[in-house]
């Protein structure tokens, strides 16, 4: 499996990270090197093995269905890059 610059750009787009053509050129061999090393996992026979879902056995807890939070709008907005009228503000998404 080899990653080319087109794949790097596609993955970067999925990850919502803007990269230049030069970045993609630089990253392709780097990622290939790492992924090539990772591929040794394919040697392991896992046909009879379940994937791990919980590292330490733990039971999921239930709690009463009550409101335990809320009424802290100003706290929620306190670190927003831009907030207006009690809302997060983003560039226009509907023309």
């Amino acid at each position: 499996m080899s990653v080319d610059t087109a794949t790097v750009k596609k993955v970067a787009s999925l990850a919502r990270i803007a990269i230049s053509d030069a970045d993609a050129e630089r990253l392709a061999p780097e990622l290939n090197n790492i992924l090539g090393w990772i591929e040794q996992l394919g040697e392991v026979d896992t046909s009879a093995v379940e994937p791990m879902t919980a590292v330490i056995p733990n039971t999921l807890r239930l709690r009463d269905d009550v409101v335990t939070d809320g009424g802290i709008r100003d706290d929620v907005l306190a670190n927003a890059p831009l907030a207006e009228h009690g809302f997060f503000t983003v560039p226009k998404v509907i023309e």
């Binding site: 993955v11 990622l31 990772i38 896992t46 379940e50 590292v55 983003v90 226009k92 998404v93």
Partner: protein, 494 residues
């Protein structure tokens, strides 16, 4: 009068209780050390007021004849991955530069409730991704240690908890918090001649800790010795309903049960940890550790952990996969940086924000994580890695049929120079070869200093234990500590 900055957690606690010195004297002394050591770049933010306020509360409580809290009068450092109310929390990233939480992480709150004060927020690898502290947006942390070769090469303090390790080794703080995803407490502890324990996954709440890889992230203490780590861990651990993976178990009194008598204990030596190219000095220290544990009464048995070599590649699928998901939250909308180029739409804003806000190593891991989770590759990479993780956990379970604890080196080398490995991500990842397997299995593991190499740099030994058996890990570590007699300190040059 005693220089209180030469004391550890237990000695400061006891001295404040008995009135040998006041908590404010302690806080002022450490505040002065912190501000005089900025060359090490161990702190992103200094918070002298926090430390002094906690000290004043401790002194007032003592004057009023109240029973002092467990950490009354003890100032500590807080890794800048823990959200602290009203104090900037960055995860050493540009993305979170200026982020000031309106809430307190559970672990830091527990420490303040126990009477500790905060000297500052400690530098780290960006989003805890790194083994050398070279990925911080706020600059490299420099180890206080130097090679005794006449050169003055700046050495890595280890990572990701490198601000914590550097500050403790330089005696700027008696103890600090760390977090460990694949070795980020233990490897920096080994590099700087201090102690650090990663407890069982779930012991310490993850609530309010900036997330890296949620199935692996675990907080723990770093300090100068085993007793101080036990005291700190007691304060940090405990059930938290706000973390769904928190262990609903009582916190043992680890300090009170410390014992270096290992009679009746079996310690396993995993043969797969004898990796190619391991320096002879580390082999020798490992053998020395075996002899120390025998001397403490333990029986030594050889064990096999056959899937050890697959732990690192599995980790470098699982951790980036979880990171790519966790770090999706940094969108430039709700908190952190926003980069909005002229005329950009929402999607372009996300991409520009994340390109500007994340450093190269963070971007690299997000891309790897996104790739291994993408359609068509998920089963081949992620599912296979989680299956291998099951096999690694089973290796440990089988070993526990033969022994109670494991002894290994902590890292495959002593501290390296800054810049020495940063050009090759894979070489850097290999630093975690001995620490990652226990992270994948969620089990407790501790690094204690064992000795110095030929260049005069510290080397660490690692004790790994069964789930929930922090006591066994602490006790075996104490047995090593007592026999190693490690008293070396870096000579002050900063």
């Amino acid at each position: 009068m005693t220089d209180v900055t030469t004391l550890g957690v237990a000695a400061i606690r006891d001295g404040v209780r008995s009135g040998d010195f006041s908590a404010v004297e302690v806080a002022n002394a450490f505040v002065a050390k912190v501000s005089a050591a900025r060359q090490l770049n161990a702190f992103i933010v200094e918070t002298p007021d926090h430390a002094i306020a906690a000290a004043k509360a401790a002194d007032a409580a003592r004057a009023a004849g109240e029973t002092l809290k467990p950490l009354a009068g003890v100032p500590i450092g807080m890794k800048d991955l823990f959200c602290t109310k009203g104090v900037q929390t960055t995860a050493a990233s540009h993305m979170l530069e200026g982020f000031t939480p309106v809430y307190e992480s559970t672990v830091s709150q527990k420490l303040w409730d126990a009477g500790a004060g905060m000297l500052g927020k400690l530098n780290l690898d960006q989003f805890a991704m790194g083994s050398s502290n070279e990925t911080s947006y706020f600059g490299n942390v420099i180890s206080p240690w130097r090679r005794k070769d006449g050169g003055n090469a700046a050495l890595a303090p280890g990572g990701s908890s490198g601000g914590s390790s550097s500050a403790i080794a330089a005696r700027l703080v008696p103890a600090a918090t760390g977090t460990d995803t694949g070795g980020s407490i233990r490897q920096p502890a080994a590099f700087t001649g201090i102690s650090g324990i990663k407890p069982t996954y779930g012991r310490c709440s993850r609530w309010g800790v900036v997330a890296f890889a949620s199935s692996l992230d675990q907080a723990g203490p770093m300090a100068r010795d085993v007793r101080d780590c036990a005291i700190m861990l007691e304060a940090m651990a405990g059930f938290d309903p706000k973390d769904a993976t928190s262990l609903d178990m009582a916190v043992p009194n680890w300090e009170a049960a410390l014992s270096a008598d290992l009679r009746g204990k079996k310690v396993g030596i995993p043969r797969e940890y004898r990796v190619d190219g391991m320096p002879a000095e580390i082999e020798a220290l490992w053998q020395q550790g075996i002899d120390w544990l025998k001397d403490a009464g333990a029986e030594i048995v050889e064990v096999s952990l056959p899937h050890t070599k697959y732990a690192l590649p599995a980790y470098y699928i699982i951790a980036p996969a979880e990171a790519s998901s966790n770090l999706a939250r940094y969108d430039g909308v709700r908190y952190g940086q926003r980069d909005l180029p002229d005329g950009a739409n929402l999607q372009e804003m996300y991409a520009a924000t994340r390109a500007a806000g994340f450093g190269p190593e963070v971007q690299r891991r997000i891309l790897i994580g996104t790739y291994v989770l993408s359609a068509g590759f998920y089963d081949a990479y992620y599912t296979q890695a989680q299956k291998v993780r099951t096999l690694i956990a089973q290796d440990f379970e089988k070993a526990w049929a033969q022994c109670d604890l494991l002894l290994t080196p902590t890292a495959p080398s002593a501290a390296f120079a800054l810049g020495e490995k940063s050009a090759d991500p894979l070489a850097m990842y290999l630093n975690d070869v001995f620490t990652v397997p226990s992270s994948l299995a969620g089990i407790p593991a501790m690094s204690v200093p064992g000795g110095l190499d030929k260049d005069g740099l510290p080397l660490g030994l690692q004790i790994i234990g069964k789930p929930f058996d922090e006591q066994g890990v602490l006790n075996a570590s104490l047995a090593i500590e007592q026999r190693a007699g490690f008293t070396a300190q870096p000579e002050q040059w900063w």
